[in-house]
């Protein structure tokens, strides 16, 4: 699998990260090396092996739906870069 600048640009767009031209080139090279390394897994026979996404034998964890106290709005917004009238402010989305 060749990781070139186009692949890095595409993945960076999916991840919503802006990269400089220099970063894109450097990351393409580094990621190519890392992907070649993880390609080692292609040697493992995984036929009939089920995937482990969670290490403990665990079912869905449910609880009663009981109303309780949430954080007050001022605490929720205390770290917001642009709090506005009790909301999180963002650049305008709809024209």
């Amino acid at each position: 699998m060749a990781i070139n600048k186009e692949v890095v640009d595409h993945v960076a767009y999916l991840a919503r990260i802006q990269l400089s031209e220099e970063e894109t080139g450097k990351l393409a090279k580094q990621l190519e090396g890392i992907v070649a390394f993880i390609d080692a897994l292609k040697d493992v026979n995984v036929e009939h092996i089920s995937p482990t996404s969670h290490i403990l034998p665990m079912q869905n964890v449910l609880r009663e739906d009981i109303p309780c106290q949430s954080l007050p709005i001022d605490k929720v917004l205390m770290n917001a870069p642009q709090p506005e009238g009790g909301f999180f402010g963002v650049p305008k989305i709809i024209e």
């Binding site: 990781i3 991840a15 919503r16 990260i17 992907v35 897994l41 403990l56 963002v90």
Partner: protein, 483 residues
């Protein structure tokens, strides 16, 4: 008496005998930090003087009597900066305490007011990926302390902390503990609540202690462990009285030595030091046998697929909307997508970008099955290796890291070489089992070497018993770096 040099249990004994009060400990720590931290830089922002006052509210009836605990920068402490050493969380002050912090406060601990340095978002094995600059190893300040909990480990080793909390996703407690000559435990997955731990890889992360000896490790684990309804992955298994595992007896303990951990790549001095430690344990009565963990060589590639995939998803929340840094450059002011991409481009460091991109790649259309799904299947094989071994072994002993602490800048430009520092610690996270690193000697250059002990899930008591017996029969934990 230099109180900063003592363990927590020694300090508690002195308080009980009315020889000291907790205020004395805070004062002594401050002095020690002002003296050593300009060299070590274990704390974020270089621990500016004036910000080091430990809370004076002390409940004398409590277990911990106001003794301070140092906390890694990724564990939420209410009203106290928690930034994961990242620009993107600049100035973040959590509106709540992590469950481990709540439990420590209930036990009467003071939370040390400056956080311990770390690799940004715990991405690293050297604490060089911090926006506050690297922490240095107290045993040789030209070298790294390990990572990602390098600030916590260095603070404990340099007596700039009584003890500390770190987090371990692929070795981030155990490897810095080994590099700095302290004790570090990654508990069983689910043993300690992660509520309030800023997530890196949710199927691997655990919070655990870094301490000056095994007894402190036992004390701190007993306080933070337990089920938490706020963390649905925590397990409702009773927390035993771990202090009962503090026995100096390993007679008959069945120990497996995995042959895959002693092959090429291991530093010869690490190998001989660990072999001498195993011999010591044999003299004390363990029964050793060579075992095989055949999928060991796949642990690092599996880890760098699963951990980065989970990280790319967990770190999606840092988008400049709810907290932390927001770019206000150019088009970011009036276009939402530009705001996201610029905020994240400017806010994340190089290693964070590398891992988010790798994780996004292995999850992306066309590659998911070849990489991510395949890694989950190999993870099953790695877990089975341990299941098989624990059928007739009580624990497994290995080196914690293949090398002693390496030089600053030695591996930072070579991510693959850096990733291989975690070769011996990653499997425990993939298998969900507990692991402890304890000091087991020094190289000829005077660098600490760590011994790793692994046990089956919820086998912490076995680890403590083996670790305590070894420690109490050896002098390594009593050595202090010369600063």
């Amino acid at each position: 008496m230099e109180l900063a040099k003592l363990t927590c249990h020694e300090l508690l004994d002195l308080i009980k005998d009315r020889k000291i009060s907790s205020e004395h400990i805070g004062d002594d720590l401050q002095k020690r930090i002002q003296q050593n931290d300009p060299k070590v830089r274990a704390y974020v922002r270089g621990a500016q003087p004036g910000g080091l006052e430990v809370s004076s509210e002390i409940d004398t009836q409590s277990i911990l009597k106001g003794i301070p605990v140092t906390v890694k920068d990724n564990i939420c402490t209410e009203g106290m900066n928690t930034e994961c050493c990242s620009r993107i969380l600049e100035g973040f002050r959590p509106p709540y305490d992590a469950t481990v912090i709540k439990k420590l406060k209930e036990a009467g601990a003071s939370i040390f007011p400056v956080k311990a340095n770390m690799d940004e978002f715990a991405f690293g094995s050297s604490t060089e990926n911090s926006r506050f600059g690297p922490t240095r190893n107290p045993w040789d300040i030209e070298r790294v302390p390990g990572g990602s909990s390098g600030g916590a480990a260095a603070a404990v080793a340099a007596d700039e902390a009584v003890w500390a909390l770190g987090s371990d996703t692929g070795g981030s407690i155990r490897q810095p503990a080994a590099f700095c000559g302290v004790v570090g435990l990654k508990p069983t997955y689910g043993r300690v609540s992660r509520y309030g731990l800023i997530a890196f890889a949710s199927s691997l992360d655990q919070i655990g202690p870094l301490t000056k000896d095994v007894q402190d490790c036992v004390l701190l684990t007993g306080i933070i462990a337990g089920y938490d309804p706020r963390d649905s992955t925590s397990v409702d298994v009773e927390v035993p009285d771990y202090t009962r595992a503090l026995v100096k007896d390993v007679k008959g303990l069945r120990v497996g030595i995995p042959k895959e951990y002693f092959v090429e790549g291991i530093d010869p001095e690490v190998k001989s030091t660990v072999e001498a430690a195993i011999q010591k344990l044999k003299d004390l009565g363990i029964i050793c046998k060579e075992i095989s963990l055949p999928h060991t060589r796949y642990a690092v590639p599996v880890y760098y697929i699963i951990a980065t995939a989970e990280a790319s998803s967990n770190l999606a929340r840092f988008d400049g909307v709810q907290y932390g840094y927001r770019s206000r450059e150019g088009k970011a002011k009036n276009n939402l997508i530009e705001m996201y991409t610029k905020t994240r481009g400017e806010g994340f460091g190089q290693e964070a970008k590398r891992r988010i991109l790798l994780g996004t790649f292995v999850l992306s259309h066309g590659y998911y099955e070849a990489y991510y799904l395949r890694a989950l299947k190999v993870r099953t094989l790695i877990k089975r290796d341990f299941d098989d071994v624990f059928k007739d072994c009580d624990c497994v002993i290995t080196p914690t890291s293949p090398t002693p602490a390496f030089k600053i800048n030695e591996r930072i430009e070579d991510p693959l070489k850096m990733y291989l520092s975690d070769l011996y610690t990653i499997s425990a996270n993939l298998a969900g089992i507990p692991g402890i690193s304890i000091p087991c000697g020094f190289t000829s250059a005077g660098l600490p070497v760590g011994l790793q002990i692994l046990a089956k899930p919820f086998g912490e008591e076995t680890l403590f018993r083996a670790a305590y017996t070894y420690e109490q029969n050896t002098p390594w934990h009593l050595q202090k770096p010369k600063l």
